[in-house]
Amino acid sequence: MSKNLRINKNKFIDQTARILFKFNGKKLYGHKGDTLASALLANNIHLVGRSFKYHRPRGIMTCGSEEPNAIVQIGNDPALTDPNVRATEIELYDGLEAFSQNCWPSVNFDIGGINNFLSPLLPAGFYYKTFMWPASFWEKYEFFIRHSAGLGKSPNKPDLDLYDHQYAHCDVLVIGGGISGILSAKLSAEKGLNTILVDDKNNLGGSTLYQDDNAFKINNENSNIWLNKQIEDLKKLPNLTIKKRTSVAAFHAYNYLLARENLTDHLSLHERKNKIRQRLWKIRAKKVVIATGAIERPLIFSNNDRPGIILSSSIKKYIDYYGVKTGENVSLFTNNDSAYEAAISLNKSGVKVKVIIDIRENPNSVLTEKIEKAGIKILKGYTVIDTNGYKRIKSFDVKKLSKDGGSVVGEKITYTCDCLGISGGWTPMVHLFTQSGGKLKFRNSDNVFIPDENKIPSEQISVGSSNGDFELDDVVNNTIKSIMVFLKLDKSNYEQLNIECSKEKQKRNIWLLPSDKPMSKTKPFLDFQNDSTAKDVKLALREGFKSIEHVKRYTTTGMGTDQGKLSNMHALGIIADTTGTNMGELGTTTFRPPYTPLTFGAIVGRNVGEFFDHTRRTAIHNWHVENKAEFENVGQWKRPWYFPKNGETMNQAVQRESKAARESAGILDASTLGKIDLQGEDASEFLNRVYTNAWSKLAIGKCRYGLMLNEDGMVYDDGVTTRLGENHYIMTTTTGGAANVLTKLEDYLQTEWPDLNVYLTSVTDQYSTMSICGPNSKKIIKKIIPNLDLSDDNFPHMSFKNSKIDNVNCRIMRISFTGEHSYEINVQSNFALNVWEKCMEAGKEFNITPYGTETMHLLRAEKGFIITGQDTDGTLTPSDLQMDWIIGKKKYDFIGKRSLYRSDTIREDRKQFIGLLTDDPKEVLEEGAQLVESLEKPIEMLGHVTSSYFSPNLNKSIALAVVKSGKKLKGKKLIVPMENKNINVTITDTVFYDKENKRLNA
């Protein structure tokens, strides 16, 4: 167990620096440059986790993002722990702590392993067929299912890390830093194009980086040496940006791509402080080059999932790049030449390769010759039929394949081993291509889906093995050729390359390798993480699930955290074989973003906490804060809700504020109301069309209340509009409706009525508005603006005056939302705070009382004024609101007019706006409570309470409501049925206070 399998020879791993890490609590050492996987393997640890369903022991199978098994929990700080991290991707850092997942009590002894023995009862979709009796028990079964499912654990404290976003715009984006990506980027940047090259590793070069065998040469140099020179040249190019540790997650339409850059996950915890963990690049590229490479396929045979069974190319990388032997008694099993590359590397490193099982009858290339010369045994036309060992492979059984490959013949041979390398050929990584909308075609010769060059959705190209070129000569030559066309290059420095590549391209493909046992006795895994086997796929087909999507969903194949990178092709192959369909016709499942899982943090970036959403503040905001206002969120605005004094509750504060406003003076910051400046000779006509009432005759200097409808006749917004000049108005809207109203009005102007000469400009932020109301309001205004004639004759209700406060111009409107004599001061915002303070100073002797939205609501409710959005809900017409008076009957048209005369909008039994008084004047109704006439079931609901308050000025509870046929029901008794009691109420008029409007001019 504590063996060291490190070979002392490597330039990629810094063996001078030892790094301490812990796996399942055990202290281990690795080196800088290791991944967790390579460090574990160097410590001879293969068993990393347990599978999802059967809890079978699983080990490291790959060296990249396709890893299905070796996924671990990193760290145990509840705020910073990361579930489901691939050991093959995470770079080792000092102090890294990793834990096996989905096992209890430990990965070595896992109770859940019992599922493996129950597996005959747990075929694909078993849960659809059982757990139904008794009916009420599903949730009890489900509890156990839920607790045995899941992989790692979610953090349970808020994340402490920072995430960032960055937009980038480039001419060419090259995805993948392997040999074809490097050549593409170089050609592009040399042409002078603004180029970005991204690669998910910390080193450019892909697999060529460590391909130092003399069987692969470019211009008489070993391919790795040649490539290194290209990389050095590349780094000098001025208009090239290289982003390492950056993985493209999504390729959206219009060449919009998302790439995640990892900035700190490879650093020790103390080095991460105050650094951004991940940055999401939002890249808009004119052209995209996809050079994402290919992934080696496993082979599907019984018990192909044991720890120690590793993809052959990964074995090669562990040896050549990480300097780690994956075992000391290794055999290989293959259907193509890739395994021989691994054999050469193993041989060079002094690892004995016992035998290579090749399903091909006559593999015959420079590589195979090399191997045979080295004295390594090759069994040609053979297959592995089973493996043995529980927590690590111990041996495997081999038989000769029949001619057609459909069965096995002859004697069983058993070989011992501690590692079995497997290679089933290669699958191009076409995920990003298909995400972008590209369509694939199937190449029968070697069973791969590759981009269909006739179905490319945008300015993009796939090159290298992601385009189906797997051999060095094809990769290099075709990449150069196609990039030259794609970027319209006349010539390149690469036209006379001499490439030696000695692999044989012959493959023999058998999706599901035969066994000497009946199918039901075998366990040929397809999706290693989700434990779905070839048997499950066949069962699904027998049960009538024929579409690839049905099979995927029924068997869960391809739905693990690796999203089927290893399993999808075999599943398709087995379906095609079983149903006798051509794979090209079968098609693939949809590849969905992201390519590799993306943290929520990276997607959200910095819009968390205080930056979750904007806070809009009025110019007087700081005064409110200093004066201890409680705030209400109204849209994005912060509005003072009430101003509690000396520990008052909200109710106490509101009662005090409301009384003060009626008895002496109150002041409200109304700056959040939307304000639109209208100019142009058709401004009056425009208002006629957008409001229900008539505007042409409004005199200059006068104000008027307007009601705006949607085209479907329902009340949409309201506010007061003032005529400042012949062709000049200022309109106010509700706070929440401001932006939408302006957009809607612009829409009508630009698209329906372009003939109208009217210009709209938002001035919401230009002017701050403070409303002073109450019997002493006049005296206060007089103090601030002594020279303004405030007599009712000169300055009547619903009119305005231009004036000056000190040196600053302002507009004073005499309008009222409280029913009191009141003034609204509109002043340039940068002077508003000072004007407010002046009002407070001037009002001091009258006990001027600042009030917030709650008191405003109460005061207006006493007068029966509506609040759109509170008393209306988008289903009420002006007539429903008992506001027939505001409909300009003589007007030919206005927005929404026609809708008011439809058969269901003219009905008399619609819900209508009314007032309510509770029989018990102390009883305050709950807003939202329903109104009924009788409690007999089924209960018919007649309407609901929209606004409700205890009125200090009337010393009783009042409410506003909408009730079916309410207009006709004045005086009628209704019931408000609450959970624990029924409240008796009577329908009244909507105006509770000062019905004669005497106070307006008081």
């Binding site: 339409a253 219009y254 808009r284 085209e711 957009t743 630009q750 048209d893 007019k897 026609r898």
Partner: protein, 91 residues
């Protein structure tokens, strides 16, 4: 995110725009003359095309101008952009 070529400001990211739905639905000049059925056609009924759709977009975070776009709703490809009041440049 689409890249939309505002006829006034040039190519901009979709996040600067808002979509106003099907284009060339003219508001009836004389709504009062219409039957309930005809009014409902104007108000609610839509072609909801799968294929080339003519639709309205507003460069709401830019020049605030409305304009028309011919976009294939089956693949989101924009085929043409043209100003309000103009006829579609393609069929």
């Amino acid at each position: 995110m689409f890249l939309i070529n505002c006829p006034y400001c040039g190519e901009r990211d979709q996040s600067e725009f808002s979509c106003g739905g099907e284009a060339h639905i003219e508001r009836p000049k004389q709504p009062t003359e219409l039957s309930d059925d005809q009014w409902a056609e104007y108000l609610f009924m839509r072609k909801n095309v799968k294929g080339i759709q003519f639709e309205r977009w507003n460069h709401i975070h830019g020049c605030r101008k409305w304009f028309n776009v011919a976009r294939d709703t089956s693949n989101d490809k924009i085929h043409a952009v043209y100003k309000m009041g103009e006829r579609p440049p393609i069929k």
